[in-house]
């Protein structure tokens, strides 16, 4: 009887612990700032964002028309944004600087001018 109670207590504590840990993880995920970026021929909106070095952010990339790319070599980002769809990518920039980001999925006549700036400070 005594061991059964002990087992119940241990199991309850473990359950509470799991829930608490999960809650903590959820809270952490929710704490990550989300930056919304919209791609539409032939521009990104906004055309400039500022991130903090070492801070994790989620970029939520949405296309309002055709498939676009989202490429910035120094930040190791090379994403595809499907036509009318959304792509999410989480990054923690480690290098401060100003980085030009381009659409690298050919999207039409003015594709070569589709870019935005990511500043890491």
């Amino acid at each position: 009887m005594r061991s059964r109670v002990t087992r119940l207590v241990v199991m309850s504590l473990a359950l509470v612990g799991c829930v608490a840990l999960r809650g903590q993880r959820l809270a952490r995920a929710e704490d990550i700032p989300v930056v919304e970026i919209t791609a539409k021929r032939f521009a990104f909106s906004p055309d400039k964002i500022t991130l903090k070095k070492g801070q994790t952010v989620k970029l939520r990339l949405h296309s309002e028309d055709v498939t676009h790319g989202f490429f910035v070599r120094p930040l190791k980002l090379d994403e595809e944004i499907p036509a009318g769809g959304t792509t999410e990518v989480t990054i923690t920039p480690q290098t401060a600087g100003t980085f030009m980001t381009i659409c690298d999925h050919f999207c039409g006549a003015n594709h070569g001018n589709m870019n935005m700036t990511i500043v890491v400070e």
Partner: protein, 332 residues
């Protein structure tokens, strides 16, 4: 054999015509002996003897493009055709390295642009014209319309002992060649020995020239790994609308100017690329016609230029510089 020795009997010229680049490979002394032995050796590599010939590279005509920064449409392209036809020695071959046309979402309009490109290019009086696509030809439809007009988007052929390989780094919409084409390339080159002369022509640079201007091919390193197994490789490309030379390992890369508008030297330029401004006084400036003299006479319906006003700027290479790399390490 020392390179200096080869220099003494080999003369391989790459002349920048402005309109593109004329390359030629020929022995300076048409004698037997060592020269004959070397060319015979090269012939064994490719199945055909290397014999003297020249070819022209043209790039980025963007037929259908009108408006700033260049309001001249196809004038520079047509001028280039005239200049090729006026060359004292007729080239065997013209290689067109992409962006033959400017893209449009209207398929019928793009068809008309392809037809217009063909109508102008067929005036070139050379036995053979070969093309690869640019992203403005093939990026929106995966190259379907381009293939209807020009055939497969990547292929190879032999000409006078030199192996030519056309690579497609535009049809997948992103700047890449892709695993299927890489496998094909390995297989295509497998029959050649290390010293075979190989010319690769493609649209985008196969190295990181300026990635944030999309002047790169994401799997270009994989292509270069395949090519690194060969000693005598030259890569010709377009896309950047300016001339450029670059060395990776044994491979020399050359970009041709465009026939529509120029881009500046990216060195030291931050931010987005901007086309070179149009110069009314010198309408072909930065387009590839390296030296243009304005004659001061403007005739209605024609450019204020005459053929005599355009000088061909010779850029002649000898020894181990330039396109003579085709023959840099022959087995003798």
């Amino acid at each position: 054999m020392k390179n200096t020795d080869r220099r003494s009997f080999l003369k391989i010229a790459g002349s920048s015509l402005g309109i593109g680049v004329l390359y030629s490979a020929y022995p300076a002394a048409r004698a037997g002996g060592e020269v004959g032995a070397m060319f015979a050796s090269l012939g064994k590599e490719s199945g055909e003897a290397v014999t003297p010939f020249s070819f022209v590279q043209l790039s980025d005509a963007h037929v259908g493009f009108n408006g700033p920064p260049d309001p001249l449409g196809t004038k520079a392209f047509e001028r280039a055709v005239e200049m090729i036809n006026a060359l004292p020695q007729r080239p065997d071959l013209v290689l067109f390295t992409g962006d033959l046309t400017h893209d449009t979402e209207d398929r019928n309009v793009h068809v008309e642009r392809m037809k217009q490109f063909q109508e102008i290019s067929k005036r070139i009086q050379v036995p053979m014209i070969r093309h690869v696509a640019g992203e403005h030809d093939a990026g929106l439809d995966g190259g379907a319309l381009y293939r209807e007009f020009f055939g497969e988007s990547y292929y190879s052929f032999d000409h006078r002992g030199v192996h030519f390989v056309g690579l497609d780094n535009v049809s997948r919409a992103k700047p890449e060649v892709g695993t299927e084409q890489l496998a094909w390339l390995k297989k295509d080159l497998a029959r050649f020995s290390k010293s075979a002369p190989i010319v690769v022509f493609t649209h985008r640079p196969l190295f990181d020239l300026r990635p944030d201007w999309e002047w790169f091919t994401s799997d270009g390193g994989d292509v270069m790994n395949v090519l690194s197994g060969y000693d005598n490789v030259t890569v010709l490309y377009g896309h950047i609308h300016r001339d450029d030379e670059h060395q990776t390992g044994n491979v020399r890369h050359y970009a041709a100017r465009s026939l529509i508008f120029g881009f500046p030297d990216p060195t030291g330029v931050s931010g987005p690329r901007k086309p070179m401004p149009f110069d009314k006084e010198h309408p072909f400036k930065n387009l590839g016609i390296r030296t243009v003299k304005f004659n001061g006479k403007v005739r209605p319906g024609s450019l204020p230029l005459s053929i005599e006003d355009v000088e061909l700027t010779a850029r002649e290479f000898q020894g181990i510089n330039g396109v003579q790399q085709l023959l840099r390490n022959p087995k003798v």
